[in-house]
């Protein structure tokens, strides 16, 4: 029994936690640091981490353009926290030269909830995730400031969207990889499966 091959961008961040969550959700996780590795995957996770660092390393190691092309060509991608920022069209309170992958028609506000002393946990209802509320961990988290009509809001905190989906692109401001509840990853694995590029 082999699930879809899903990459975790492994330039910086909580790669191990996402890989573990993907395996638990029925996928075969692989680390992605090179274009050749990117070419091999049916879906990709952009992990939590420091978005400015990951963005810079994407450019330095010549992954930014190939990744943009694959996203445009329909590669399913799930981004958590820094990953959500990277999937945005634009970022508020980012660095002016901060490289973004884009794909999701949204503007996010970086560190929107404040600094680390403001980081928090809360229970959230997430559209598309059946069962009890998702326990969500927010760490210097962003929120969605502006979203296009094609973007579906899956969850909110105090009116601010914190989980969104647009086709096969999924993004959360929180970290489902940190809690041991892998329902959000299962949702993403289902998205990858139904996107049809299963090898």
């Amino acid at each position: 029994m082999s699930g879809p091959r899903i990459g975790v961008l492994a330039l910086q961040g909580d790669v191990r936690e996402h890989a573990r969550a993907l395996a638990a959700a029925g996928a075969r996780p692989v680390e992605v640091r090179r274009v050749a590795e990117l070419d091999e995957v049916d879906g990709l996770v952009l992990p939590g981490g420091e978005s400015t660092t990951i963005g810079r390393l994407l450019r330095v190691f010549a992954l930014l353009e190939p990744l943009r092309e694959r996203v445009l060509a329909g590669l399913p991608v799930f981004g958590s926290c820094a990953g959500m920022i990277l999937l945005a069209r634009d970022v508020v309170d980012g660095r002016p030269d901060q490289p973004l992958v884009g794909g999701l028609d949204m503007v996010v506000r970086r560190n929107a909830f404040g600094r680390q002393v403001d980081s928090f946990e809360a229970d959230l209802d997430v559209v598309g995730v059946p069962g009890p509320p998702v326990h969500a961990v927010f760490i210097r988290a962003p929120w969605v400031e502006k979203a296009g009509d094609t973007v579906e809001v899956l969850a909110r905190v105090a009116e601010a969207p914190v989980a969104v989906r647009q086709g096969s692109l999924l993004a959360t401001a929180f970290h489902p990889e940190l809690t041991g509840d892998f329902r959000v990853h299962r949702l993403f694995v289902d998205i990858v499966r139904s996107s049809g590029s299963g090898r």
Binding site: V15, R33, T53, Q116, F120, A122, R140, K146, A160
Partner: protein, 363 residues
């Protein structure tokens, strides 16, 4: 097992503080009050409310609690999770806003604000303390990445000041002159997370028992000599491997030998690693040093004097960041190691008199 949240209770205006519940300890530690320094949080909450009154959705939120469940800040998961997000990254010592900008431009995941880099503390001597709050505030204002700062071992008031300044992580550091020869800070009392140094597993677990959310090797800061960091990393790894191989009934005696709580010892034996992120620090001066420590099992790298005591800090900082990501790829390591100019001169650790060894500070 798993995490038990430590509520420090900022669930919203007017809410009651919840009891704290430390991880790895069977019961409440009794008596400790709510988090000491709520001013920053209140300030942020105010800022947040303002920010939220104008999101594009047009739905003004007059209170952050509208429409969602209670929020819990300062929990163990939030503190340890912050360190998880730094993995695979480089945290750089900086002494002013300009250095902080260079570090951010180079791709640092965070900066460590301090008054003097360890090499200068060694050279100049005297008592080394927490930095000037003005300098920390300037650095916080200058960069968008997380800012850490150092407090003296046992100096819980310096830590309170750093928390109130909005620092993202406090390093209870042996590089500064210890304030208490017996006790480290009770880190459970704080909303801000702490990183602490360790030379071996027992020391790491004692720091976790006190509430540290991240561990780093101690190395020998300010020397540019990596050998101590290597020894600490190998020691911690070997001690964990030994625990994992022990039958359950022998873990009690192992805990006694390690001078660490048995439930933490049991957890490490089961996981085969620390329950928190393990970075390396002390003496890292080149991209190859950083890659060496990553190959030895570090989750990430602190670089102190190695960058801003070198000939070309910006290039060296970038090179160390790239080497930390591609630590297993010698072709990349060759490329990033070229043309960096002079490395810091450094001091051989074996020539240091015992009193000048920072790694021996802490208990």
């Amino acid at each position: 097992m798993g995490y038990r949240p430590t509520h420090t209770g900022i669930t919203g205006p007017g809410s009651r503080p919840l009891p704290r519940r430390p991880i790895g300890r069977g019961a409440d530690d009794g008596g400790a009050g709510p988090c000491v320094v709520p001013d920053w949080k209140r300030k942020r909450r105010h800022i947040m409310s303002e920010a939220q009154s104008a999101p594009s959705s047009g739905l003004a939120a007059d209170s952050p609690r509208d429409g969602d469940a209670a929020r819990h800040a300062g929990t163990a998961r939030v503190k340890r999770g912050m360190a998880e997000m730094l993995k695979g990254g480089v945290i750089m010592d900086v002494v002013n806003a300009e250095q902080a900008r260079i570090a951010e431009d180079a791709g640092a995941v965070a900066v460590m604000a301090l008054e003097r880099v360890p090499a200068d503390i060694r050279a100049q001597g005297g008592v080394a303390r927490m930095s000037d709050p003005d300098m920390i505030s300037e650095i916080v204002a200058a960069v968008s990445i997380p800012v850490m700062a150092k407090a003296r071992i046992g100096h819980f008031v310096e830590a309170q000041v750093l928390q109130a300044l909005g620092v993202d992580y406090v390093d209870e550091s042996e590089v500064l002159t210890p304030a208490d020869p017996h006790h480290h800070i009770d880190k459970w009392k704080f909303t801000v997370p702490f990183v602490c140094g360790a030379t071996n597993l027992g020391e790491a677990l004692r720091r976790l028992a006190e509430g540290a959310a991240m561990i780093r090797s101690k190395g020998e800061a300010g020397t540019g000599e990596v050998s101590n960091a290597v020894v600490h990393m190998r020691t911690i790894r070997a001690e964990i491997a030994r625990l994992s191989a022990l039958p359950a009934e022998e873990l009690y005696a192992a805990a006694k030998e390690l001078r660490a709580p048995v439930d933490l010892v049991t957890e490490v034996a089961r996981l085969g690693r620390l329950p928190v992120v393990l970075f390396t620090a002390g003496g890292i001066a080149t991209p190859a040093d950083a890659a060496l420590m990553m190959q030895l099992g570090a989750d990430g790298v602190f670089v102190g004097s190695g960058i801003f005591k070198s000939g070309d800090p910006a290039r060296r900082a970038q090179a160390i960041v790239e080497a930390t990501t591609m630590y297993n790829d010698p072709d990349v390591l060759v490329k990033v190691s070229r043309g960096l100019g002079e490395a810091m001169v450094g001091i051989n650790v074996s020539e240091l008199p015992p009193a000048a060894r920072y790694a021996d500070r802490g208990w």
